[in-house]
């Protein structure tokens, strides 16, 4: 039973994390879907556990395991091929509404089997209550171990599909080779599985390649691989090379226009530039012109050490490019903060993920200011088209970027055009005439093909400048790490491309929709609390809080981690694993040692951990972030496990005939609401501080309720 529970944990974490990776990749790196995907996962686990409980004795766990490990790669392949099956053409954007639906559905089969396995394995124990706790514990241990394995191998060594293959064979091997299996038999099975794995490894690599060929038909696939940071695909067509990150174009070579707009415009203000720092993707593009400006020293910070020889060779050929392997945010916030640059370039790309939009926050902009020389310029090229008009949806994005820059710098100026370019400085270096700009450009050793008088006269004509200025000063809302609303403004902007998306967002963001819902929730909660059976009501409330708070904190940790470290792609496995382990130990400890005050003690522990997080998260160096947040989630889960057992003791001790699924169902409901709303909606609207304050408030309320119970 213990062994099976361990493999359940392994299977569960593997399924969850690998599918999440695939969804992030398929939906262009957007992390908003983590919420809806986790919602789908919880829903499926709850359904699986319910049906599994009914059929626990009639289905063997091995059969479910085998079905699960075979289904996991199939689900990964289906998720990856979804755009092709759904009729999207190469490179077509998948609307938010479709992504929400698919992210929820994709998690269902594996989640269902994972939930199903729990009661089936539990039933193998002699004493139900004890076996539940044991399965929970070993599932947690399995999840933690699985999380570490997935983090270590996926990206660095294996692709997602290969990891799924390894995981599947590992689980089946583990199920076949018990303690009692003879050594010879064990060796033979291991040998067979090693050979099998070699086959699976090879065939999965072929499959990876075949899927890329389908998804990018018309292009030659140079290579396709996972890194700890993202999924990379390198394509070529008609002598051009395309680097895709999570199905989004990161760079094209040669693409002179993009390269020039990435590098040249700030040189028009300070042509005597020496040192340039470049953050964010684009190393491939500027390689096309860097050699022509030999007096520049360009430091590019990128967390991916090597991509592929085709790309790496192009970059190393440019002698004035220094590639520094680190996350850009870590780089500018830590030991390099004293370095002085003439120009800092932030290339955020589309602001459709926390990974990208985190660059344009007051915190990061402030750090960039510290890196600049007194006459230095911060330059942010954005992809927003303001050449012919500025739409209602683009205006708030540009205005928020402008306000954020203006908050930190004394001088900010914006070039309208097919891409809008932001410049900020502490000196009046930006206050120069158009003629001076052109004179400065003519002083460069490289003659720009696009950033020159032939084009700039049109781009910077008074009509366009006036239009841009008219929208920049309309709003004064800045975007920050605490209240990151750029991603959501971007979501509204992209939603315009699809009517369903517009309608869904309108519904979600409408006050008239939320107000009645809030009232209904309050009334329901109130009715429960005021019912005659107060013990039952409070206990159910504790279940709900256990689910809501723990999952909200988990997602907040994902957000903080992604915003500070920038590599949630693999580490999410360890974070979820640490949470699962904490949940298992908390439950185990509570079952064995829990006394009368279990619920209040757990809530007090949860409260302390949350307050500690609120007070310390911004002081944590990125080098220990994974440990810090892993321990925090472990602590949160420990308390949640204790709270769950505490609430269970109260509910079922006094009402032995009460519906056994109610507590669990309310916990799942809480988790689902947390998954759906915490970072998707509440974080950008009320901000991180208020979100934590509300969570602390909820914990205190639950604590008071638990104290009432204990009396």
């Amino acid at each position: 039973m213990k062994r099976q529970a361990f493999f359940l944990g392994l299977f569960s974490i593997g399924g969850q994390v690998l599918l999440l990776r695939e969804l992030i990749r398929t939906f262009h790196g957007n992390e908003l879907f983590i919420g809806t995907a986790l919602f789908g996962w919880f829903l499926a686990v709850a359904l699986g556990a319910y049906f599994g409980g009914k059929t626990a004795r009639s289905i063997s766990s091995s059969l479910i395991f085998i079905t699960g490990v075979l289904l996991l790669p199939v689900m990964i392949i289906l998720t990856r091929l979804f755009p092709h099956f759904a009729g999207y053409v190469v490179g077509e954007y998948i609307p938010l509404s479709t992504a929400i639906l698919i992210s929820t559905l994709a998690m269902l089969p594996i989640g269902l089997l994972s939930g199903w396995l729990f009661p089936v394995i539990t039933n193998r124990g002699r004493l139900l209550s004890k076996s539940v706790a044991r399965v929970y514990l070993f599932e947690g241990i399995g999840a933690f171990v699985g999380g570490i394995i997935v983090m270590l191998v996926t990206g660095g060594l294996l692709s997602t599909l290969q990891t799924a293959g390894l995981l599947g064979l590992g689980i089946i091997w583990g199920l076949l080779t018990g303690y009692r299996t003879a050594l010879t038999k064990r060796i033979i099975i291991t040998l067979v599985f090693t050979i099998l794995y070699a086959g699976v490894h090879y065939s999965m690599a072929q499959m990876d390649s075949a899927i890329e060929k389908i998804n990018y038909h018309g292009y030659a696939i140079i290579t396709s691989f996972d890194t700890h940071y993202s999924h990379q695909t390198i394509l070529s067509r008609d002598s051009s090379i395309v680097l895709l990150t999570d199905n989004t174009i990161e760079a094209v070579y040669p693409q002179i226009e993009s390269a020039e707009y990435m590098l040249i415009p700030p040189l028009a203000y300070i042509p005597d530039t020496g040192n340039i720092l470049m953050l964010g993707g684009s190393r491939l593009e500027i390689a096309a012109i860097a050699d022509s400006l030999p007096y520049l020293s360009i430091t590019i910070v990128d967390p991916r050490k090597k991509l592929h020889r085709v790309i790496d060779n192009l970059i190393t050929n440019s002698k004035n490019i220094v590639l520094y392997t680190d996350d850009p945010v870590s780089f500018i916030t830590e030991e390099h903060a004293t370095a002085q640059f003439d120009i800092v370039i932030i290339n955020p790309g589309e602001l459709d993920s926390y990974k990208n939009s985190r660059f344009i926050t007051k915190r990061i902009i402030s750090h960039c200011r510290q890196l600049l020389k007194p006459r230095g310029i911060l330059y942010i090229p954005t992809p927003y088209d303001t050449d012919r008009y500025i739409s209602y949806e683009t205006a708030p994005i540009l205005s928020a970027i402008f306000s954020t820059l203006q908050n930190i710098f004394d001088y900010v100026t914006v070039w309208p055009g097919t891409n809008s370019l932001f410049f900020a400085s502490q000196s009046p270096v930006l206050d120069i005439s158009y003629d001076s700009l052109i004179t400065n450009l003519n002083m460069l050793t490289y003659y720009p093909q696009y950033v020159n008088d032939y084009y700039l006269g049109n781009r910077l004509n008074p009509l366009r400048i006036e239009r841009m200025n008219s929208i920049l000063h309309k709003q004064h809302q800045t975007t920050s790490f605490i209240k990151p609303h750029l991603l959501h403004l971007q979501t509204v902007y992209r939603a315009k491309a699809n009517k369903q998306d517009t309608q869904i967002l309108s519904l979600i963001l409408s006050a008239s929709y939320w107000l009645p819902l809030a009232v209904i929730l309050a009334v329901t909660g109130g009715l429960l609390t005021c019912s005659k059976d107060r013990t039952r009501s409070i206990t159910l409330f504790l279940y709900f809080i256990a689910g809501l708070v723990s999952l909200s904190l988990e997602l907040i940790v994902f957000y903080i981690f992604q915003s500070t470290v920038g590599t949630l792609y693999s580490e999410i496995a360890v974070l979820i694993g640490a949470f699962m382990l904490g949940l298992a130990f908390g439950t185990m400890w509570a079952l064995n040692h829990g006394g009368k005050q279990l619920a209040p003690v757990s809530l007090l522990f949860l409260l302390n951990a949350t307050i500690l997080l609120a007070l310390t998260y911004h002081f944590i160096p990125t080098s220990v972030s994974l440990l810090y947040f892993g321990l925090f989630l472990f602590a949160v889960a420990l308390a949640t496990g204790g709270l769950f057992v505490g609430a269970t003791n109260h509910l079922y001790r006094q009402n032995p005939l009460y519906n056994p699924g109610s507590g669990y169902a309310l916990e799942i409901l809480g988790s689902s609401l947390g998954a759906l709303f915490t970072t998707t909606l509440l974080l950008p609207v009320i901000g991180l501080y208020w979100l934590l304050v509300i969570i602390i408030g909820l914990i205190i309320t639950a604590f008071l309720g638990a104290r009432v119970l204990e009396r």
Binding site: S391, Q449, C530, P684
Partner: protein, 380 residues
């Protein structure tokens, strides 16, 4: 607290909340409210549209484009800019452009039409097709109440050109066919004041409205998006046949015509398609119709399709030249030889361009200054 008291408290709280809080998320909601404002606010125009017929039953049938939308009361056609009100069809965008710029004529691109001059470019919201690669999707796929419009009477548009000495008005960005009445009236006033009019269109218009419009126009640039019907059906959401017919009509009726073909990687960039395109142009329009190949950049729904490689454009250029087209151009490739106009007889550069600038003109009227060969177009 008993249950009754609790309910009373909740009721009061809800009432206070409803009274004080109308918008929970003002900064985000602002954008989405604009995007969702499907009801017609009063600032929209209501000028009776041309080219529609009343149906036997209730409703009208729009006859301006081949889509032939049948529109019931208070509904709009596919373009979102024409509304049936009690069986009278109205255009809602007359005099309400949402984009106004002064651009070089080369940006349209029109290379054989007063080179080196500027054009007052204007557009309203809406379009009668839905191209997945649309560069102007933020206005073309919007209804007029979803865009930032400003009133500009046809006379004012023309007067602006007169005062600012802008020789041409270009109806562009979105699809001018959907603001036909506005375009027609500006062009008519413009003619009286000596201001030229050029239409930058997808050519998805019916024969009669085009026939009536062409005398008011000085030039038409048609975006021929592909030479395959399937592409039009799946990527453009329109039809190829009517566009080809209108190209022939424009040529026949004598209005200056230039063609732009946007080369979209993997979707319309095969050598076979370039050859077919060149042959069709040569056969039905003549080899002297300027043909521009422009580069696709990731836009709108094709946000993650890489830009067109230069080599693909050069392939198109070579194929068209080999097929005998005399004026083939590549767009947005500054410094490339295919930016300039060459005399097909002596090979001399007659108009040298770089970017949006005309660097040199070697023309005597509309003749090559070297060999006197006639260069088609409107040059002076």
């Amino acid at each position: 607290m008993d249950r009754r008291l609790f309910l009373r408290c909740i009721g009061c709280t809800a009432a206070v909340a409803a009274a004080t809080q109308t918008e929970l998320f003002p900064e985000i909601l602002g954008g989405i409210q604009n995007a969702c404002a499907f009801d017609s606010p009063p600032q929209l125009a209501s000028v009776e549209a041309r080219y529609y017929k009343k149906l036997d039953e209730h409703g009208i049938e729009c006859e301006i484009c081949p889509r032939h939308c049948q529109v019931t009361d208070l509904e709009r056609g596919f373009c979102g800019t024409r509304e049936n009100r009690d069986d009278t069809y109205y255009t809602l965008v007359y005099g309400l452009p949402c984009a106004l710029n002064i651009d070089p004529i080369e940006k349209k691109p029109l290379f054989h039409f007063y080179p080196g001059t500027t054009a007052l470019s204007l557009a309203t919201a809406g379009c009668n097709v839905n191209c997945k690669f649309c560069q102007n999707w933020e206005i073309s796929q919007s209804r007029p109440e979803q865009t930032n419009n400003f009133p500009l009477d046809p006379r004012d548009a023309v007067n602006t050109c007169v005062v600012r000495k802008i020789p041409t008005i270009a109806y562009t960005y979105s699809e001018p066919v959907i603001f036909y009445e506005y375009m027609y009236d500006i062009a008519r006033h413009g003619q009286k004041k000596g201001i030229h009019s050029v239409m930058i269109t997808g050519g998805y218009i019916e024969e009669k409205p085009l026939h009536d419009l062409l005398p008011q126009l000085d030039a038409v640039k048609v975006d021929l998006k592909a030479i395959r019907e399937e592409y039009y059906r799946t990527i453009v959401h329109g039809e190829l046949k009517p566009v080809l017919d209108r190209l022939i009509q424009i040529k026949k009726e004598g209005t200056w015509l230039e063609i732009v073909y946007l080369v979209v990687p993997t979707l319309n960039d095969s050598e076979a398609e370039f050859t077919e395109l060149a042959r069709w142009i040569k056969t039905y329009l003549g080899n002297d119709v300027p043909t521009h190949f422009s580069r696709f950049y990731p836009q709108y729904l094709l946000k993650n399709l890489p830009p067109t490689p230069l080599k693909t454009l050069e392939t198109a250029y070579q194929i068209c030249q080999a097929e005998g087209l005399e004026y083939v151009y590549l767009g947005n490739v500054p410094g490339h030889k295919a930016e300039s106009t060459y005399c097909p007889k002596c090979g001399a550069v007659v108009i040298k361009r770089r970017g949006y600038r005309v660097l040199q003109t070697n023309l005597n009227g509309n003749r090559c200054s070297k060999c006197n060969h006639i260069i088609p177009g409107i040059f002076s």
